[in-house]
């Protein structure tokens, strides 16, 4: 390709890097100080764009062209103020919660903000006006280059410099850096952390808002921007190192330039095959992240994280199921088995039950690595999807008979887990969550783009069970397989393997010292979880008759997390309860209102704020409190007498 075209692409990459950096910088700053991974950061970016659209439209009418620039300044400030409000109202209540709950809480915000935006601005895309004075283009080596991109190229390093000055040269900056280093020590020295946290959060939101606002002339405001930009921002922050601003800029630069190169070079010819590099752009950032995390687990310029000081309290030892639980399980099983007989009165019940059963298996498989394993996966949908697509491809493309396709599908997911798990078990905490997310994104984009085999965005259709597994028979197959899997997973949790997994979670140091190969145990668990998720996927695809890439999107992984946490991560029945309640709720809310996302977000927030131990934990706590109350009564009496 021509040199000038490549140069133009690289310059575009610089402009792109600025945009990435603005969002990532705020995320990194907030994480550094509050240790909260703010899922809603992409929403601030989106809001920045929407608010900038409205303020610019309004101010240009009043002030003429200067209104554009005033609007561009007003919008981020407004987003920053909104961020402060969010911090005061919501985040202050979850600083002490386990890491996972913070992620979920901010994810709920994403849903609420998205629906609020839909309500305020409507579903149409809104394209802002061009920047007065920078609307044209300049000539570079005979190519036209938009002037506005020059402005963008400058603004990233400029903000980096300003924030660096703020942190390095002001008293406030010293406090922020001290908080990044050791929050508890800072608190012990008498610094009012509450307002420090609020200020940092507001600054972070402001930066995200600025990142959105400056995109006004280039990108139409739309409702998909929040998740898209948060994905990019996560990758940038993780690659650069959590909490490191120069790292964030370096990572933004790296990713933007690699993307630009992929687009610029187009397709290459290697070993007689044509590779289209431009198709790589969807996944290249995740590939970069996977490589960086494996080579430098703390990111390019990051430091190893101190262990989270507010992890969940120690779990109670596992007890084998009592008679009560066994009876309940049996009754539920019989009731589920009876559902198809009630078809006349409850025509929809067995359809819903089918979905619930698949969700239960998915949640149980995720819980296996999250609960006993302590490995927080944000990409578990990948294995569900691999199972579903595996079955579909074996059936349609390799034309295997349905029973064989069904049997091999979980193995496809297991193989995926074998490969990805090897990388994932080397990390922990937020980095692990991000790497699992990256792998699921990679699988998603492969499925999305490999149209010849996967059907691309349309997915696969016509994936039906064999004739002898008609309607009711397939429901019974699902019921039996899910019940057997749930019992098997339970069996494994009580076996030496399950105990080794819990031991490694409780204390990797001690596990190592008594001769347990912690990584291998975790790896094996990852594969087991992948197999069961794959089975759930296979059950899913044959019940729906097809599959689309949505089943392995980020949203599906988060659904799984919500199910597990809703039920209660510390109890083995948690995922069963959580998945059932979740599926039924989602089904009824989605049919009742257009704003189901906001309702769903509200439910998650309620869960995070009111039921931090999930449904099962809530009932157990209630039981314990009752037992304590019952035990205390006699002891209280003598004291009352004395009084």
């Amino acid at each position: 390709m021509e040199f000038s075209a490549l140069l133009a692409q690289l310059l575009n990459g610089l402009a792109e890097a600025s945009s990435l950096f603005l969002v990532a910088a705020g995320l990194s700053l907030i994480f550094g100080v509050t240790r909260i991974v703010n899922f809603a950061h992409g929403s601030f970016y989106m809001l920045g764009l929407y608010v900038a659209y409205s303020t610019v439209e309004y101010l240009v009418g009043r002030l003429g062209p200067a209104g554009f620039w005033v609007g561009l300044v007003v919008a981020p400030v407004a987003v920053g103020a909104f961020g402060a409000l969010v911090e005061i109202v919501l985040l202050r209540r979850i600083y002490k919660a386990p890491e996972l709950f913070q992620l979920l809480g901010t994810f709920a915000l994403v849903l609420v903000i998205n629906d609020a935006t839909l309500y305020l601005w409507g579903p149409e895309e809104l394209l802002g006006r061009r920047a007065p004075g920078l609307a044209g283009s300049i000539s570079l080596l005979g190519r036209q280059f938009p002037t506005y991109n020059l402005f963008l190229m400058v603004i990233g390093p400029l903000v980096l410099g300003l924030v660096w000055l703020l942190l390095a040269r002001t008293r406030w900056g010293v406090l922020v850096r001290a908080a990044t280093e050791d929050r508890q020590m800072l608190g012990a020295l008498g610094v009012n952390q509450a307002w420090l946290f609020t200020a940092v959060f507001a600054l972070g939101a402001l930066l995200a808002g600025l990142g959105g606002a400056v995109q006004l002339p280039r990108e139409p405001a739309n409702l998909a921007l929040d998740l898209r930009s948060i994905g990019d921002a996560f990758v940038v922050v993780v690659v650069g190192g959590m909490g490191s601003l120069p790292g964030a800029y370096l990572a933004a630069l790296l990713i933007a330039e690699i993307k630009a190169l992929c687009v610029g070079i187009g397709s290459v010819h290697v070993l007689g095959l044509d590779f289209s590099l431009s198709k790589l752009t969807l996944v290249v950032e995740f590939l970069v992240m996977a490589v960086v995390l494996v080579v430098r687990p703390w990111g390019l310029l990051g430091k190893p994280q101190a262990g989270s000081r507010n992890s969940a309290p120690a779990e109670a030892p596992l007890r084998p199921a009592g008679n009560g639980l066994r009876w309940v399980a049996l009754v539920v099983f019989v009731a589920l088995a009876a559902l198809p007989l009630l078809q006349t009165w409850l025509p929809y019940a067995s359809v819903l039950a089918q979905d619930v059963l698949v969700s239960v298996l998915f949640a149980v498989s995720l819980h296996f690595i999250m609960g006993p394993g302590g490995l927080h996966s944000f990409g578990h949908a990948a294995y569900f999807g691999l199972g579903a697509y595996g079955a579909g491809i074996l059936l349609k493309v390799l034309t295997l008979p349905m029973p064989l396709a069904f049997t091999f599908a979980p193995l496809v997911a297991g193989l995926g887990a074998l490969l990805f798990g090897w990388f994932c078990v080397r990390l922990s905490g937020v980095y692990l969550a991000m790497l699992t997310l990256a792998f699921s994104q990679i699988v998603w984009s492969v499925v999305f783009q490999w149209e010849a085999v996967t059907g691309g965005s349309n997915g696969l259709t016509g994936v039906w069970p064999a004739a002898w597994l008609g309607d009711t028979a397939y429901y019974y197959l699902t019921l039996v397989l899910v019940a057997a899997s749930v019992l098997l997973v339970r069996r494994i949790v009580f076996s030496p393997f399950g105990y080794a997994l819990r031991a490694a979670r409780d204390s990797a140091l001690r596990a190592d010292a008594i001769g347990i190969d912690v990584m291998r145990v975790r790896w094996a668990a990852f594969v087991v979880a992948g197999l069961f998720a794959g089975l759930a996927g296979a059950l899913f695809v044959f019940s729906k008759g097809g599959v689309s890439p949505d089943v392995m999107a980020v949203g599906k992984s988060v659904d799984g997390l919500v199910m597990v946490l809703l039920g209660g991560i510390q109890q083995l029945v948690g995922p069963l309860l959580g998945a059932s309640v979740f599926s039924v709720l989602q089904d009824s809310i989605m049919r009742a209102t257009d704003y189901w996302r906001a309702v769903f977000g509200g439910v998650i927030l309620l869960l995070v704020l009111v039921f931090p131990h999930g449904i099962a934990g809530f009932f157990q706590g209630l039981g314990n409190a009752w037992a304590r109350l019952a035990a205390r009564k006699p002891a209280l009496l003598p004291r009352e007498k004395r009084a």
Partner: protein, 258 residues
Amino acid sequence: MSLLQVRDLSKAFGGVRAVDGIHFDLHEGELLAMIGPNGAGKSTTFNMVGGQLRASGGSIQLQGRELVGAKPRQICHLGVGRTFQIAATFASLTVLENTQMALLSHHKRLYHWWRPVRDQYREQALALLEQVGMAAHAERPCSELAYGDVKRVELAMALANDPRLLLMDEPTAGMGPQERNELMALTKRLVVERRMAVLFTEHSMDVVFAHADRMLVLARGRLIAEGDAHSIRNHPQVQQVYFGSGKTFERPPQEPQP
């Protein structure tokens, strides 16, 4: 031949030589204490023997087998048990299950996935707990125990692989005087019964002088004295390091200045 031979062992963190060429031997049936002021290199030495840290130079041989470069879990399978400065057990497991876990690992049953843990190696685990005096608490969760009791559970776990060598990093920290002496008397008994050896670090000089057969004194990463209680008490350099000039962190006087 001695059980453990440490030769010219060193560890550098950047430019700091935390452990600087130490030699010592440990014999079967012996309770060897490693003492020295803060920063002397005790824990570093310990973690190198246990495999948590990799030595920068020198060798550590257990019955002729090299430990430098081995991972902690491999060292465990070679017959080394250890306890940590801050006791590490599995908080969500009961005392019994903790001990069973150590036994299951020793017998290489970690990947068995069918039979419940409940009735595997139960008797052996109870016997170990009996030895450390924790059998009565077998069914309690580890997270509920008093700290001294957690240390006993840790000891039972460290004994599960029938170790030839037991490493104990400050075994009596956080215990009352009575408890300390009990634990050390117990350790001495175990050493004799099981014909193993113990290497331990300790800050309480009462414990060291009352229970150790022999002691090593470290200062600034170097071994400055070695011997029994009497000779250590009267060793001029040791006195200087601990009480003498007050300049604990100066280099020993006879050493050539760089």
